[in-house]
């Protein structure tokens, strides 16, 4: 399965959900990530139920609170 994650194409052997991808990609703080799935922001409860498929585009968007 080919996924595009933050603009980079990657190959994966196994089927997985968005939650599993966060683990596989070693996202340290999943609470700090918003996920855009094929152009739409996913609701957090849908991370566990959204099964990824070939050619999906995923963006991990990080909370960034600094500024002063």
């Amino acid at each position: 399965m080919k996924l595009t994650i933050n603009g980079e194409e990657k190959q994966f052997e196994n089927q997985m959900t968005v939650s599993q991808l966060l683990t596989v990609e070693q996202v340290k703080m999943p609470d700090m990530v918003s996920v855009e799935y094929n152009g739409q922001i996913l609701k957090r409860p849908d991370f566990d139920t959204t099964n990824l498929k070939d050619d999906d585009k995923i963006e991990f968007l990080y909370f960034m609170g600094g500024g002063r």
């Binding site: 700090m32 918003s34 990080y62 500024g67 002063r68």
Partner: protein, 271 residues
């Protein structure tokens, strides 16, 4: 208003640009920008907007200048330590450009004061350093329909998006609500490369100026991310989110609220 001789000279490098001209410069002089937070992002934004001749600049900040600020908050100088940031910033703006009217608000942006301030301006720059303030500024701009440049920075990373309320994705379209406690490092705990604030704050000022002049493409429905270590800028396309709690199809947020501050102590932080 027409430009006097001094102004024609001062703004000559703008006026000579076909896309700006005398008419564009007059638009800038008639524009009002509110900068929330006179710190890392607000400092470069205020300096460039003042130099550009944005006619009115509002500054909100309750803080005094601290020695730890000077590594990045370039509008404040060593002699300003201990003085209110809004006063320090006002002094520099007026030294740079006496054409600019500066309104200062020595207060924190809160649900009970932000809306009435925001509505007096044409564009808002978010230079705050915490999630409750970032969500509050977003919400106030959505309710008051005032365009906003949102930005965040941390360590070596920064990101920004321009929000035209009702037309393009807002901050809550991407980030529904503040993250949970103990997940959030702040700049004071995690650190930030000083010049990163300069880059991102200057980009915010660029967006304000482009908005006033009607030039180019704004970062609407686009999150621009920047990493200073690999020098990579990346645009992430976004859409207005129908599930957005404030600008979606069935909003659940109908008035301004002060979200709770959720910043961890570094010792029990998972980060």
């Amino acid at each position: 208003m027409s430009l006097n001789d001094q102004q024609i000279e001062r703004y000559s490098r703008h006026i000579i640009l076909e896309e700006v001209g005398g008419a564009g410069q007059e638009k800038l002089l008639n524009s009002k920008v509110l900068i929330v937070g006179a710190g890392g992002l607000g400092a470069p934004a205020a300096l460039y907007l003042a130099a550009a001749g944005v006619g009115t600049i509002g500054l909100i900040d309750a803080d005094n200048v601290d020695l730890t600020n000077l590594q990045r908050q370039v509008i404040h100088h060593t002699a300003d330590v201990g003085t209110p940031k809004v006063q320090s910033a006002q002094n520099k703006i007026q030294q740079i450009n006496p054409d600019v009217k500066v309104n200062t608000y020595k207060a924190w942006a809160k649900a009970d004061n932000i809306a009435e301030i925001v509505r007096q301006y044409d564009f808002v720059i978010d230079g705050t350093d915490n999630f409750p303030a970032k969500f509050l500024v977003n919400d106030a701009c959505v309710f008051e329909k005032v365009p906003l440049s949102h930005a965040g920075i941390l360590r070596f990373d920064g990101q920004l998006i321009t929000i035209l309320p009702g037309e393009s994705a807002c901050y809550r379209c991407i980030f529904n609500s503040p993250p949970p406690a103990n997940a959030v490092p702040s700049c004071s705990q995690a650190g930030v490369l000083g010049v990163l604030a300069g880059v991102v704050g200057s980009l915010q000022a660029t967006e304000a100026i482009k908005h006033f002049l009607g030039l180019g493409d704004l970062l609407t429905n686009t999150l621009l991310t920047y990493n200073a270590l690999n020098m990579q800028f990346r645009k992430v396309s976004l859409n207005k989110n129908p599930n957005c709690p404030i600008c979606g199809d069935s909003p659940t947020i109908t008035e301004l609220i002060d979200e709770e501050q959720q910043v961890c102590n570094i010792k029990d932080c998972k980060c």
